[in-house]
Symmetry: C2
Subunit: 401 residues, 2 copies
């Protein structure tokens, strides 16, 4: 066993050669490219044959907090094993893993080069017609094939323990499902939305519904989640999308993954409320694109899920008439519920999204954020009455009027 040490752009090249990812006689260049505060990220270039890889190493503490706030480096193993499983379940949907070391909490993986994040694309009004089909398929395959139904109840239970991640779940439970709905120290509130936020905090129904969702998050080991599928965790171009940064992975309720992504479309949707740099007809049209994408994502998911349910089941529970409809409806309700939490926490909580924070004028940003809170509360409280994805997007539209 080797003792953990943080890599530097000086030491990482030798490591990559030593483990055989690049030949030992090639000349390498290493550059730290990370912008997170939890991990070191390096791009390693083989100057001899112009190949590149990415190295991600977990830090045992939060960078922003110095070395005081400890965080398990085992998350790097969980991320690597998640990518390996996701690549098996849905080939090419995540970066390929070339090497992983438990000792160094380090993974060498495919470099997606200069692909853009979906978040940046949406912020500049780009459209991705193939994305709903791609991500719908990713969601369906990951949910079904890592669940009791697709993996078989015995096999699934055996692997659940490899993905138990108390510390990372604790972060989500606090920052997404708890703190934003009360006047907590971790919150980060634009002073211009103070009244609207206090209304959220004073709404007992909101607190109760978020408690129910937190309980589902803590107890429902349905499928292997990515755990943080926001639009900044997706590389995209015209032809493909690749989902990365799976360090929050664990066995949880799959509505959390789908809901998080839909929420980030909603956050982009509301951001245009505060953008003065685009004309109204472009905004109207782009918002229609965003809601249509939400519908198409769900439909692509449902269709792929139905196929798997019909043909890939390892549990006879899927043969019971009416159970698929009941399952998918409960999933939709949970998806909407978690999506509501993500919308609200990105406005009230500690970690915001660039879609909104890029609006420098705080009063303009407040306008968009208030709309987000309105939509968030509406979909949270009405989720169990929404029985199709259209009823969901209709409610978003109505709230935006």
């Amino acid at each position: 066993m080797n003792e953990y040490q943080a890599m530097t752009s000086e030491t990482i090249g030798d490591y990559v050669k030593k483990v055989g990812v690049f030949p030992s006689d090639h000349q390498l260049a290493a550059k730290e490219v990370g912008d997170g505060n939890l991990n070191l990220v390096f791009r390693i270039s083989d100057l001899t044959d112009h190949k590149t890889v990415i190295v991600k190493q977990a830090l045992p503490y939060l960078k922003v907090a110095g070395e005081g706030w400890k965080l398990t480096i085992d998350r790097n193993r969980i991320e690597a094993e998640t990518m390996q499983l996701q690549n098996k379940l849905c080939s090419g949907s995540v970066p390929r893993v070339y090497h992983h070391s438990d000792d160094y909490a380090l993974t060498i993986m495919e470099d997606l080069g200069e692909m853009e994040t979906l978040r940046n694309g949406l912020m500049s009004m780009k459209k991705y017609p193939k994305f709903p089909g791609q991500i719908g398929r990713f969601f369906a395959r990951n949910l079904f094939l890592s669940s009791d139904m697709g993996m078989g109840p015995m096999e699934k239970k055996k692997i659940v323990s490899r993905f138990i991640s108390p510390e990372l779940c604790d972060i989500t439970e606090k920052l997404v499902l708890n703190d934003p709905y009360a006047d907590s120290a971790s919150n980060n509130v634009n002073p211009y939305i103070k009244t609207a936020v206090e209304q959220v905090w004073g709404n007992q129904q909101v607190r109760l519904e978020t408690a129910k969702l937190k309980s589902i998050f803590m107890t429902k080991a349905e499928a292997l989640l990515h755990g943080d599928v926001h639009t900044g965790s997706i590389f995209i171009d015209e032809n493909k999308c690749v989902i990365f940064d799976a360090e929050f992975a664990f066995y949880g309720p799959y509505g959390y993954d789908i809901g998080l992504l839909l929420a980030n479309f909603i956050l982009n949707y509301v951001s245009w409320e505060g953008r003065a740099d685009k004309n109204l007809s472009d905004i109207k049209s782009y918002r229609e694109y965003l809601l249509k994408s939400i519908e198409e994502i769900w439909c692509a998911f449902s269709e792929n899920f139905h196929e798997l349910w019909q043909h890939e089941s390892k549990d006879i529970i899927t043969q019971i008439p009416g159970y698929e409809e009941s399952y998918v409806q409960e999933l939709l309700h949970e998806t909407i519920g978690f999506s509501a939490c993500e919308v609200m926490r990105r406005i009230i909580g500690m970690a915001h999204v660039p879609d909104l924070d890029a609006i420098e004028d705080l009063q303009a940003r407040a306008k968009a954020q208030r709309l987000g809170l309105k939509i968030g509360q509406a979909i949270l409280l009405q989720r169990n009455n929404l029985n199709s994805i259209q009823e969901f997007t209709d409610l978003i539209k109505q709230s935006a009027k």
Copy 2:
């Protein structure tokens, strides 16, 4: 590491001395007292000072099936660790563990002597006025203190993996939550109830509701269940009750444990329908006692649970107004659902209960079994409309009219 070998009444005495449970110079007597088919059970008596202990050793195969049907011996570790935790959470409620060996899949535990099982007591119309308070407390403490709320979300997640038990859960999923609701090979049906059973199998709503419950069983890691709390797993006398045989323990939905026990009260309740050896007024009065016990068990549970919720919480989710009521109501619905499954599977499925099978006249037994199926279906389908334990016992009474 020692190699596993099955103990005999000749070898077990030396083992017990070797691990220091009895002094090496004492004379011991060992007797096999097991009647199960999964384990060897010995009573060891220290003839020098008249102390006794029980040794339970897991067999790597089902005895009835010869050495063909393999079953993990790790269940013995799970049972020992469950007893140790349960004794910590609710002192004296389960046999004390003196020694456990992973290698031999063997546990030496407290001998409860000649205590009677609750099942035998109920079959001979005995009453246990203290039992509802005792078991209600056991349920409340085990549920709350092993959940995210009572253990803290971090600690709870860390121990979940010690209690993952795919093979034992598989048995429950098949024999309790799947096979009885269709014409499966494992079923064991009294020919005189064929029509009533075919009606169950033809009821699509029954299959759908049992599918939902099976899904909850497979995914909801709420608390550490005993996993098999029927009335034959409880030793009882006037003053105390001790719950044993926890080898089916795992992190699951707690309504399964409570529901199983209530179901075994219902199975005893319906058994009197087929008993000609007691007079009607005694039967009426005993049935009232049984339903009153069900109500008192739930009330004792709720009261203890409320105290823990108020004073022992490690998760701020318990401070959210309305959440306790919502939590307990969902638990009641799941409890009733699982209790319905246990009632039906003990009539249609492979493993029956002595309460019913002791009725030797198959036509008389059929009368009781038909009532069981009627009650089972009624409570299964109406469970989400039953909002108090009285509404539950009322529905049982109405179905019995």
